[in-house]
């Protein structure tokens, strides 16, 4: 196996396409202001330095279906998504929108034989995931891209101590002695602000609180210094105060190490506070994408607008919420035209054709055609920016 080609110092990736970019630029460490959302910094700073770099994850027009009795459920219908090094990218959507399938597909974690890729492809750090051998995938998982799941209790082995599980990951990817591995594990826990690492290493998962478990998961995910961290609803089961702490830790650590995060969630508010860019998914397709601030301030796709208007914090107390009528289409018989057709107030004849995810001439975006500022919507009648702009309620 070629696993052990690596040098023992954790924190330096083996030579490769990405290593150069990260080591030389140290993207986020170098640029002091990066990450200030909505400002010009993100667009100018990142777009320029990243423009030439290779995406850590590139999903191109991926279609995927799950065979069921007498047919198939279309889970993804041509999803394109890109995560650049060091970026925090949100994927937001409701249940059944395909956001988790996208995340699982990126690491090829879907049950083998249980799904069919019907088109498109995806590349992790420039290499094809769909064509890679299983041995290769095992190497990539954890090292190139790590994953955090919603429920840490099911992701951790309940019968083994935290220390065993953490050192297990470390020693699978690096040539480390037991003691060295344990030291590294302790340091990783300390980085996640776990107060008494030695005690936590001896603990079983059930002895820890939910927030602690999720921080242990994060420590494990960062243990091999991945280029990409995929976080699938990592804080949905947590309380808001703990959620905020865990997310701030994740972001702090990711910025420090130049790790990109693909953040899967259903919570628009969390996206707006945490992510640089966002993809809005509906019924297995990306309906809108762009920098978080702009997408949420002035949504151009009617679905995004509907999602935002349905939030109780958007309505005056006592007023009716603007609910989206109807329900998601049955993906055993996916609609031929626009996936939002039957629920959309603006639908007309043109919408019987499927709209492509087209670039929008976003007047206020200002910045050039950099990836970070790219604004797209899959709609024949995108809402006008001035119409889409939300009235400022709490200004």
């Amino acid at each position: 196996m070629s696993v052990d080609r690596t040098d023992p110092v954790i924190g330096r990736r083996p030579g490769g396409l990405l290593a150069g970019a990260l080591d030389s630029g140290a993207l986020y460490n170098g640029a002091p202001d990066v990450g200030v959302l909505g400002g010009g910094t993100l667009d100018s700073g990142v777009a320029d330095s990243v423009g030439a770099a290779e995406p850590v994850l590139e999903i191109r027009d991926l279609s995927l279906e799950f065979p069921v009795f007498g047919g198939a459920v279309r889970a993804l219908g041509g999803v394109s998504l890109r995560v650049m090094p060091g970026e925090i990218v949100g994927v937001v959507g409701e249940s059944g929108s395909g956001k988790s399938v996208t995340a699982m597909a990126a690491l090829r974690l879907l049950p083998p034989g249980g799904y069919r890729v019907t088109g498109g492809g995806l590349r992790l750090c420039g290499e094809d995931v769909l064509a890679a051998s299983e041995a290769r995938m095992r190497q990539w998982r954890g090292r190139r891209a790590a994953m955090i799941f919603q429920e840490p209790m099911t992701a951790l082995n309940p019968t083994r101590r935290i220390g065993d599980q953490l050192t297990g990951v470390l020693r699978a990817h690096h040539r480390l002695g037991r003691r060295e591995a344990l030291e590294r594990a302790g340091a990783l826990l300390r980085d996640m602000m776990i107060p008494d690492p030695a005690r936590t290493l001896r603990a079983y998962p059930f002895e820890l609180s939910g927030g602690m478990r999720q921080r242990v998961m994060a420590a494990m995910a960062f243990s091999c210094d991945p280029a990409l961290l995929i976080a699938d609803e990592p804080t949905t089961a947590l309380d808001v105060t703990v959620q905020r702490q865990v997310l701030q830790l994740l972001r702090h650590r990711a910025r420090e190490r130049g790790t990109a995060i693909l953040f899967i969630t259903h919570d628009m508010a969390v996206v707006s506070q945490f992510c640089d860019r966002v993809y809005v998914m509906y019924a297995g397709t990306v309906v809108e994408q762009g920098p978080t601030g702009r997408v949420l301030d002035a949504p151009r796709h009617p679905y995004t607008r509907g999602l935002l208007d349905g939030l109780p914090e958007r309505a005056a107390p006592g007023a009716d919420l603007a609910a989206i009528p109807g329900r998601v289409p049955d993906m055993r018989r996916p609609p031929a035209g626009c996936v939002f057709f039957d629920r959309c107030a603006f639908a007309d004849e043109a919408c019987r054709q499927r709209p492509a995810l087209r670039s929008l001439a976003d007047a206020e975006s200002g910045a050039g055609p950099g990836i970070a500022s790219e604004r797209r919507a899959a709609c024949w009648h995108p809402l006008a920016p001035e119409l889409a702009a939300q009235p400022e309620e709490d200004a």
């Binding site: 990450g35 200030v36 959302l37 909505g38 409701e94 249940s95 602000m193 107060p195 609180s209 939910g210 927030g211 602690m212 921080r215 309380d239 808001v240 105060t241 703990v242 959620q243 905020r244 702490q245 865990v246 997310l247 701030q248 830790l249 972001r251 702090h252 910025r255 259903h266 919570d267 628009m268 508010a269 969390v270 707006s272 506070q273 945490f274 978080t292 601030g293 949420l296 301030d297 509907g306 999602l307 935002l308 208007d309 349905g310 939030l311 109780p312 914090e313 958007r314 309505a315 107390p317 006592g318 009716d320 919420l321 603007a322 609910a323 989206i324 329900r327």
Partner: protein, 360 residues
């Protein structure tokens, strides 16, 4: 001496209405459900003679009053005791100390409380068709109230209705919650999450309850479905003058639906008052911390180094004095004494359990 919540101290007024008489229990604004200094302890470990030695202190002196026609919100993080309180309000759990009072209705029976749980998948019987699920409480309570007919003791007589009458009642309830009656022959698993929650609401409405406890009614739902259910709840309340107790960790849902709100921490109410006042100008440091952590649109978190995470303290050994003292940024002298839930003269409806907050 530990003073129970709600007792007055010099210079401060007790919560208004706390000792109000039960007269006029049927009128809007009259108390319909009240808990007085409720404590609930669960034994965790026992010694060799079976006597409990370690307790989980789930509720530590909660007093509150739900008035007819209002929507009362209970907010707090997991482990703060809000679901235990729901069980007490439902009469499912006997408090270790303190009591639950339900003023009698016109027919002499105590106020009827129904509940809608978070997860309709697990709270509705999978083996019954939806219409039977909806009328189940009627069958369990011993039939429908017979209108106009009274028994020898003067109480409304309850008759066991036939299948047709029950089905008719289920159809009427289904229409109220936005389901089509012809869907009701299906089983619960054939409905979507939002429709299942509608069934749960119809079931709670079936016995014509005085109070409906909503325990995280939309937490398992998607945003667009949540909006539909919240609209339905508001509309039902308007149409039928229902009384809600909404238990949620989602502050914006509570803000949207509720008139009054209580914030809980470690089995105590730390702040209580009109929803707008409590959630828009919170006084207690815990309420402030909680509201500050709620994700908001259009307001990115600052990128500075994260704060050291704090954990909810365990409830087997209760802290001395103010329960929030260990995490409180304002902790000072005097916080080692138990704090009382007090309203200040400038805002008599808004009470909080902090002696510092009043001076800031």
């Amino acid at each position: 001496m530990m003073t129970p919540a709600g007792t007055a101290a010099p210079g401060a007024r007790p919560m208004p209405g706390a000792g109000a008489a039960w007269a006029g229990a049927g009128a809007p604004g009259a108390p319909v459900l009240e808990v007085q200094d409720v404590h609930v302890r669960f034994p965790l470990a026992r010694d060799w003679r079976g006597r409990p030695v370690v307790h989980a202190h789930a509720l530590n002196g909660v007093s509150l009053q739900v008035r007819r026609g209002e929507a009362f919100g209970i907010v707090g993080e997991s482990g703060c005791g809000k679901s235990t309180l729901a069980a007490v309000l439902m009469g499912l759990l006997r408090p270790t100390e303190g009591g639950l009072r339900r003023p009698p209705r016109a027919d002499g029976r105590p106020a009827d409380v129904q509940i809608v749980f978070q997860d309709p998948q697990s709270s509705l019987d999978p083996r019954l068709p939806a219409w039977r699920v909806i009328v189940e409480p009627l069958v369990a309570a011993g039939g429908l109230k017979a209108v106009g007919s009274r028994g020898r003791d003067g109480a409304a007589r309850r008759v066991r209705p036939g299948k047709a009458a029950l089905r008719a009642r289920a159809d009427a309830l289904a229409r109220q919650v936005g389901l089509r009656p012809e869907q009701l022959d299906r089983y619960v698993h054939e409905f979507s999450g939002g429709q299942r929650q509608r069934i749960a609401i119809a079931r709670a409405l079936a016995p014509d309850p005085d109070v409906i406890v909503l325990d995280e009614p939309t937490s398992a739902l998607d945003v667009s479905v949540q909006a539909q259910i919240l609209n339905l709840l508001r509309e039902l309340r308007r149409a039928h003058g229902l009384t809600y107790v909404l238990i949620s960790h989602n502050v914006s849902v509570v803000r949207h639906l509720c008139d009054r709100v209580a914030v809980m921490y470690l089995g105590q109410v730390v702040e209580q008052g009109p929803a707008a006042q409590v959630l828009e100008s919170p006084r207690h440091p815990y309420t402030r911390e909680l509201l500050d952590a709620v994700p908001r649109l259009d307001r990115p978190w600052p990128e500075d180094a994260p704060a050291t995470p704090a954990e909810l303290p365990g409830n087997t050994v209760l802290p001395q004095g103010c329960f929030f003292r260990g995490r409180c940024p304002w902790a000072t002298t005097g916080c080692d004494r138990p704090q009382m839930l007090l309203a200040r003269p400038d805002a008599p409806l808004h009470a909080y359990r902090c002696h510092v907050a009043g001076t800031r």
